[in-house]
Amino acid sequence: MSSITTRLSNVAPGSRRRGRRTWHKTLLGLVFTAIMLFPIYWMVNVSLTPADRMRSSPPSWFPFAPTFDGYIAVIQQQLPYLGTSLVIGLGTVLLTVVVAAPAAYSLAKLRPKGGGALSFVLLVAQMIPQVIVAMGFYAIYLNLGILNQPAGLIIADSTLAVPFGVLIFTAFMSGIPDELMSAAKLDGAGTMRTFLSVVLPVSRNSIVTVSLFAFLWAWSDFVFSSTLNSGGDAQTITLGIYRYIGNNNQDWNSIMATAVVASIPATILLIVAQRYVAAGVTAGAVKD
């Protein structure tokens, strides 16, 4: 695998030329991203539009006389909720990876009897409507006394991601060459050590993928936080949005502003994570 290293060093001298060669791709990428994120722009636009212009026809493409009422409301009322969502998101990521990765390793490489059936059950599990699952959880949590506890919400949110994680990890781990594992075995490593020091590092990409989705699901979950945590002191940002949805009235400035404010820290996290991952992949390749 040293060829990657050589390739990198081959490319290096011509990198300026490469930069010039790829600017049109960057441009194309920008166009794609702009199209994809247009609804996000529209959301920002609505968050700044005063109520009497929200439904003007034709709509205005830019909030010329912006109102910041929504943002003022959000900053005054919602900032602590962001912290809760962050803690719950990260907790869910951790729990999901810890539970799903070993299982997937086993399914992909250790060939347990009945593994196929298990994958199948995992698939079916994801079909149960979340509302029904939440109703079941409510009863369990009430009896365990973990209703309205962030820890309980982390467990609930991870149930969305664990079946997904196992299936994704399995798909990726079955692609790991068996030579790697038999080599570790030769070095005297047990199954656990092989898993920790060989399989996990090689599975970096899939760990990142699963973590991303676990985080995103936990971040945007509403059903669980509403059913299991709405009486708690530490509420999530999605519940925060419902403060602006009244019986007869919705305060769209504040709803959209909450979404904008909520997505900023998470977006930064995503970009940083992506950079880190991109760097990690290159480093790993060179090390090999």
């Binding site: 920008l30 609930a156 664990v162 798909a171 997505s263 995503l270 970009i271 992949v281």
Partner: protein, 325 residues
């Protein structure tokens, strides 16, 4: 192609190389080893099994139980609902909503997945060529997922409003006539499919992209040396090697799309009339759409969805078996 990462394990495991057993006592009997192996294998799986039993067995049981009894709000509280067998299912099949809901579910799922997967794949391949800002832009593609569905779906219904929506405003400025996206029985399903494709693209992009990362660059090197062009590389290398990841992406996409309800519910409520009602929406309408919940038929429709997913799950397992064989 011996450098391919994805190789059948059986072929690759060299059973007992010379000198391996040199310093070790004789191996335990095959049967014992097998048992120990199984124990380890299940040890790794145990947490997930515990998970499934604790968190899914009861809800699944509950869902089946709801669908074979006649629950009213009162019997939901005191738990004394009479057993009615398949009566709820028969009632569902005879309901005039059944036919349209089935067709809409198939169209919604099929069209959504076809577009999500194709666009996701194209974007994954596109972003995989390292160009300036590629990783940042790729991260930005995930932003739609950060938004609670109530916000993203509301934004779409905002943009698709017949009178004050920006999409119609663009169409009209090019001289076209506006479309009643959300209020016309002919367009409502199209409108929710478009929004759903948009929401599903990041999912496909991310998984397929990490699939691409796992393909060894050596293969592309070799192909380049052999003079393969970009499209040949895609169809001969990328596509076949991505098969396992693609299969699971499509399967998961299917499972998730089948049960999509938030987007449709927020945008059209399944309307006008039944024109964008899928099984998931129908189940929700029965269960929570009015102030008087109708749990049993709702659960019956929900179980129909599970059965549909089961069928595709079987298909997946068969395809996988064939690939393994």
């Amino acid at each position: 192609m011996s450098s391919t990462i994805i190789e059948r394990p059986e072929a690759a495991v060299p059973d007992g190389r010379p000198a391996t057993n040199a310093g070790l006592p004789p191996r335990p009997s095959l049967k014992k080893r097998f048992r120990a192996d199984q124990l380890t294998a299940w040890g790794f799986i145990a947490p997930v099994v515990a998970y499934l039993v604790i968190f899914y067995a009861y809800p699944l049981f509950k869902n089946v139980d709801l669908s074979v009894r006649d629950y009213t709000v009162r019997s939901f509280i005191d738990g004394n609902a009479p057993f009615v067998g398949f009566a709820n299912f028969t009632a569902i099949f005879q309901n005039p909503t059944f036919g349209p809901a089935l067709v809409h579910t198939l169209l919604f799922t099929g069209i959504s997945i076809a577009f999500q997967f194709t666009i996701g794949m194209a974007l994954a391949v596109f972003f995989f060529q390292n160009f300036r800002l590629s990783s940042t832009l790729r991260a930005l593609f995930l932003v739609p997922w950060l938004l609670p569905l109530i916000v993203s779906a509301s934004t779409w219904s905002w943009m698709m409003n017949s009178d004050s929506g920006v999409i119609n405003s663009v169409i009209q400025s090019f001289g076209g006539t506006g479309i009643n996206w959300l209020t016309s029985p002919h367009w409502a399903l199209v409108a929710v499919i478009i929004a759903n494709i948009w929401i599903g693209i990041p999912f496909n992009l991310v998984i397929l992209y990490s699939g691409l990362q796992n393909i060894s660059t050596d293969i592309y090197e070799a192909a380049s040396l052999d003079g393969a062009n970009a499209s040949q590389k895609f169809w001969r290398i990328t596509f076949p090697l991505l098969k396992p990841v693609s299969a699971i992406t499509i399967l998961l996409g299917l499972v998730y799309t089948l049960k999509v309800f938030d987007i449709i519910w927020i945008m059209t409520k399944g309307g006008p009339g039944d024109s964008s009602t899928t099984f998931a929406i129908w189940s929700y309408q029965l269960g929570f759409g009015s102030t008087l919940p109708d749990f049993s038929p709702a659960a019956a429709v929900g179980n129909l969805l599970i059965v549909i997913a089961l069928i595709f799950g079987f298909l997946y397992l068969r395809v996988q078996k064939r690939q393994d064989a």
